[in-house]
């Protein structure tokens, strides 16, 4: 089962807000519902929201009552704006929307465009799975038998259409018969590691231990980590990596202990238009994600306090050992080598 798919004229996705307690599908009948699902993180993970946006465009084409090509393209542009605004940091969203808009413009009459958009969304989703498998093969070469892998956030089947990026590498290594163990950062504030990664690893029968994010440095300093694998939401041309908040400190701890640190991304996550990570927009999310947890049934903070909740941070490329893509691993100097990986796909 895929985390997102087209189903009888609707976009069906696993509602990730309910895991690990409840496994339930969310059916979106309009692109507006898809945009809300992205914003509210019913679906999350850069590749998965790219696919969601693509399917959203297919829905938008069907929703439009336009009888001529220009009217339809205008409706599609409005839908793309709405979908793009759902989350600002992951570039896969605008990448998928551009691809679908181009496909629409290249299409013929409204009926043909509607068909082309659904085919285009399907193709993008199918490609994502294929890309992740290739990425997994490249990355698994880094994993030796007996390795302990530290992992942040969720980068598995749930974060993609299927299979996963960093977690796909782990999965491939496991499928190759390597004995591995995963240290799972719980990943505050939304706890994607605790809620989603543990759930996936349990189903894959891969050995793991859940830790507080704060403990990652201790495990590295005491020699218990062989490699750090993460995903990313946007990689700048120089190899700066925007990823789930906390990744930057994790990368510093890896560097301080000589532990290799590899972001694992499809090349659609690389944004060659940005020269450095300083230009990547950092999403600020609701305070409720921080203070909405309870500890022993009690609120974790007094009422009415000020809270800040940046959802991503930028890890400078000097902390990156290499970037695993579906076309191979880019090593420093990252500017030319990353560009080569991206161009191999085009």
């Amino acid at each position: 089962m895929r985390s997102i798919e087209w189903h009888s004229g609707t976009v069906r996705m696993i509602d990730q807000r309910l895991l690990p307690t409840t496994f339930q599908m969310l059916e979106c009948e309009s692109y507006e519902e898809v945009a809300d699902a992205i914003r509210d993180m019913a679906i999350r993970g850069a590749p998965a929201i790219g696919a969601a946006a693509a399917f959203g465009m297919a829905l938008a084409a069907r929703q439009s009552s336009a009888r001529d090509r220009d009217g339809l393209l205008s409706d599609l542009r409005a839908a793309a704006e709405r979908l793009k605004a759902a989350r600002p940091t992951a570039v896969n969203l605008s990448w998928a929307l551009s691809r679908l808009m181009k496909r629409a413009k290249d299409g013929g009459d409204p009926a043909a465009i509607r068909e082309r958009l659904l085919e285009g969304a399907q193709a993008l989703a199918d490609e994502d799975v294929e890309i992740n498998r290739r990425l997994g093969e490249h990355g698994a070469a880094l994993i030796e038998d007996g390795y302990t892998i530290l992992h942040h956030c969720n980068t598995g089947a749930l974060a993609t259409v299927d299979y996963g990026t960093a977690l796909g590498v782990i999965r491939t290594a496991h499928e190759q018969g390597k004995q591995i163990h995963v240290l799972v950062d719980e990943t505050r504030p939304r706890l994607q590691g605790a809620r989603l990664t543990t759930w996936e690893l349990q189903h894959l029968d891969i050995s793991f231990t859940l830790i507080a994010d704060n403990a990652a440095g201790h495990f590295m300093r005491s020699g218990q980590v062989d490699i750090v694998l993460v995903g990313a939401d946007r990689v700048a041309a120089n190899g700066d990596v925007a990823n789930k908040i906390g990744t930057y400190k994790l990368a510093l701890a890896a560097q301080d202990n000589g532990v290799p640190f590899y972001p694992c991304v499809p090349t659609s996550t690389v944004d060659l238009s940005l020269s450095s990570g300083d230009d990547i927009p950092i999403e600020e999310r609701p305070a409720e994600e921080i203070i909405g947890v309870t500890y022993h049934g009690q609120p974790i903070a007094p009422d009415g306090i000020q809270v800040a909740n940046p959802a991503f941070d930028v890890t400078p490329h000097r902390c990156v050992t290499g970037i695993v893509t579906e076309n191979g691993i880019a090593y420093p100097p990252l500017t030319p080598n990353l560009r080569r990986m991206v161009q191999a796909s085009t």
Copy 2:
């Protein structure tokens, strides 16, 4: 009101497990109850548990039915063992116990010893408050008007007998009329920052923002932090600092951004018997502290998973800008300068 005090033959303390929702005192009528309160973290913070252990010894002397000096000393040694075992990392516990045991041995008959131990515990508690005020004065010289201070865990009045260490520095700067703002790390897993530090800052009317620990690096990298202040549970002779889990990654982020990083400790937290932090025992605490939170009323992880929960980490001295003590600030080279600070107290 002090976080811990002697009250009509009992040891009375604020039950910190119930904050910020409920303010309630816990009364311990035996040293065993004090040991349990330390282990279960009804009272926590290195200086506070040092005082708790001291008052526990005063209780133990009263509980003992020994009629002769040797019998009483034997009972006290047993009590000291029990109290010391409650938590392994903070050296203040064994420091306080040694001081009280010495006082007992120097005492006369059982009645005199009982009286001397209560006086000794009271003196230790009074000294802690006095020491924190001096520490606050030294540290506040580092704080300039307009500073944003990043703070981990809780180091306030609750973590000490009164006034606080790192939070005492912040309090002194505030009392001096400096405009300051505090970024409060929530401090997973037990959330002492979210639950206790925010509560204290609110009562002190000091401006603050609560953040996920993972966000600290982002705030430093974007130039929003002027200084990092933390407490410590044990400082080795070379300046390596054991403190609440997550401090090490925080110190790395401070170093990477040129933000000064100062642990603030009474000299009783310095353990000159350990040449480096590698020899400091790291307490492993129950999994329940990690998986006992709920997110939107739901468990944060599947049932029955493996969890690791080291409560402290060690920050190497090379990441330390200076160590604030009641006798002044020790700067590198820390080995001789820290020793001088400790010896100034003896």
